[in-house]
Amino acid sequence: MDGRHRLTVLASLLVLAALVAGSAATGLSAPTPPPRRGGVLNFIVSAEPPSFDAHRETTFAVIHPVRPHYNLLVKFDPLNYPQVVPDLAESWRVSEDGLTYTFRVRSGVRFHDGSLLTSRDVKASLDKIIFPPQGVVSARQAAYEMVESISAPDPRTVVIRLKWASPSFLQNLASPFNWIYKAEILERDPRWYERNVMGTGPFRFKEYVRGSHWEGVRFENYWKRGRPYLDGYRALFISSPAAQTAAIRSGQALVEFRGFSPAQRDEVVQALGDRVVVQESGWLCNLLVVPNARRRPFDDARARRALTLAVDRWGGSRALSQISFLGPVGGVMRPGGPYATPEAELQRLAGFGRDIQAARQEARRLLREAGVPEGFEFTLKNRNIPMPYQPGGIYLIDQWRQVGLNPRHVIQETGPYLADLRAGNYDVAVDFTCDFYDDPDVQLAKFLSADRSPANYAGYTDRLLDGLYRQQSRERNPQRRLQIVRQFERRVLSDRAYQYHLLWWRRIVPHWKRLQGYKVGPSHYLEDLEEMWLTE
């Protein structure tokens, strides 16, 4: 076959493959009706916003009810994670050295009070997050250490200059907490937004009844033509899982965006049948095991390593995913995410191998070497939140007993639990992390030395780790960055075994079929009502 024929055959095969793929996709998904305007979406939020100012808060409880009143400068595409798309920025340009980001702000965007948005509002909002004035708390100030200055040279341009090129800067800027406020209000009172709402978002604020609900109505002058589809929304604050399930079953709410347990999902599906759709996804949250490196015997890496070696994560994943939203096995980066460690590589880390018998033998050997006696008693400190902490804790206890240890499960309310972790008053603890996007800057920060990361309860200091973190954070070559992340991972999870993941979480969102334009993603912080709509 000559070259021309080969090309023709290859082209034909490609076309055929595309046709097959296309018809398969068509066959799999039912035709989607065109979006419909109207209706009020009732959804559940399991907690209430502590304040209305996302710049100072860290909880989804402020995102779900209040975020629809605001826009961001750039945002994660709600239907196509992790793509960053324009929101109030029409476009942007990054200088070749990666140090200057120039954003073109949309024209004709109005705040809910009728005033026009300019670059001054964007600058004032970002200033509040990155360089907060005295007395103003910004929860994510540390995430923008690389920012040198923000300027607004003309009403439609915002320029952000960085001290060093940060490969994650754009994603970082797309944080769902970076709401754009009105400059004039911030100048008058930088804390005004803690108790008030006024943005440019698709919905205007209507009502908030504490302990009960939050309501928004469509903003008729919204800058994006034809959006939002919904007339309004009502966020119902329901904390009890039983009441949440009942609200969905009775149709008083169509969805709870954070996620249900498998039992709740099954109950809803059984009751509603084909009127409900279940969407599942990986979740940017995980359970961690934290041995106290300030206490014997866990000040010895061999003892810490033995603990991780004793845990059968693959078996745990199969068992625990039936009863909880624990599931995927992964390292420091989310399994299934862009930085996920390939399984072959993951299995080389202590405690992540598939041969659990060999791992447990090794664990027993390490315990003997470290001078830990058979039947050694210690406590596993855990939170009193049933899902998923308690199944995770019980599983760990069982696993450690199989290498001759005798752990005791101590379950505490969140307040004393955090106080004890902070004071180092524990032997081993169950901890967790939850974030809004897959990026080493975010996911690795917890593992920095205790004097650099207040979220590191294990109490160790490791300057090599701190150095690796800094290196990856500034590395613009994705491959090299990934290598540094892998090095970091090996050191934290395996070589020094400072802290390690039990399992990552899996998001389960059952919702009424009436709700359209919603796609579950790996973060419950990224929900966006702009594209959602309701069928008749």
């Binding site: 860290t58 007395g135 302990g211 904390s239 039983a242 009942a246 969140t414 004393p416």
Partner: protein, 317 residues
């Protein structure tokens, strides 16, 4: 009587001050920090500076005595302060929930009284008969059934039978009485049943005691009909312990329906109490404790007045 009442009302002030001081100290003994709960418990990375800044803003870095003086100074001006969690005035936080809790307490009390007094009297008058046994079964079952469990059964019954659940949002009675009652009648039944069980037993035993008194025998001997003997002579005297039980149960209902409120997703004082404690919202806990203490104090004063009205032999000096 008036002098007695004035003295009782004056004593309310030191009582509440003692409660306030005790609560102020106790809530600070419980381990846990509102700032960490707020900023760190979500699993997000927050710097130590931010945590310290927030603690300073909430006044938690001040010496304890200074925090106490600030709070008591506020109380003297009838200002309970602002919630450390939400930043809203404590009075507003409580007022939103008190309306629902008060209405639910009143409805549950109506259910309880309208069941307990007739059943208790009937069982006492027909002592040893099937009526007495049936009432005893009814009241023992009520005592043995937790309100929240009965609430769950009611919800499941409504869901399975009518594919309907009570509305989850509270609508004030004067805005839409139908919506209001369709939400609150179910928890009122669940709570009222248990409450009536306590009161039924108390009514029965008090009536049995009174029915053995000489003056009742005299009334029967005079040839009075059953109704005046039971209602006018016996019941009125038997009501004293019953009123005490009803009053104390009513006070309990204002802040004590935590689980039932969760089952029916009611935005009441009990749920607020649990939230405030789990968040270590000191100012809100203090405000709520003062509310509950005040309810108990005033219910007790009310009971004293009721005793005097029911039993002319009681005179306060």
């Amino acid at each position: 009587m008036l002098r007695y009442l004035a003295t009782r009302l004056l004593l309310v002030v030191p009582t509440l001050w003692a409660v306030a001081t005790l609560v102020f100290v106790l809530v600070r003994v419980i381990p846990g920090d509102i700032v960490e709960l707020r900023l760190v418990s979500g699993g997000t990375y927050v710097t130590r500076e931010v945590i310290e800044q927030e603690r300073a803003r909430l006044g938690l870095t001040k010496p304890l005595w200074e925090q106490y003086v600030d709070w008591v100074g506020g109380l003297a001006r009838l200002d309970l302060g602002t919630s450390m969690w939400t930043g809203a005035p404590v009075v507003r936080e409580i007022a939103i929930r008190l309306e629902l809790s008060l209405q639910l307490a009143v409805m549950a009390t109506v259910v309880a009284v309208s069941l307990a007094i007739p059943l208790g009297v009937w069982a006492a008058v027909r002592r040893g008969t099937w009526v007495d046994h049936a009432v005893q079964v009814f009241s023992v079952a009520g005592l043995a059934t937790p309100s929240f469990w009965l609430g769950i059964l009611l919800l499941l019954f409504l869901l399975w039978t009518f594919r309907w659940l009570p509305p989850m949002l509270f609508t004030p009675l004067w805005v839409d009485p139908v919506a209001n009652l369709s939400q609150l009648v179910w928890p009122a039944l669940a709570v009222g049943y248990r409450y009536s069980a306590v009161a039924t037993r108390m009514t029965r035993s008090a009536m049995l005691e009174v029915l053995r008194e000489d003056y009742i025998r005299t009334a029967w001997s005079k040839g009075l009909a059953e109704r005046p003997v039971v209602v006018r002579h016996a019941l009125r005297n038997a009501l004293l312990p019953v009123v005490t039980v009803i009053g104390l149960e009513f006070a309990f209902l204002i802040g004590g329906l935590v689980v039932t409120e969760q089952v029916f997703n009611l935005n009441g004082v009990g749920k607020l109490f649990v939230d405030a404690i789990s968040r270590r919202d000191y100012t809100l806990i203090q405000g709520l404790m003062l509310l509950v203490a005040s309810v108990y104090v005033f219910v007790n004063v009310g009971l004293d007045v009721a005793y005097a009205l029911l039993d002319p032999r009681i005179r306060y000096r």
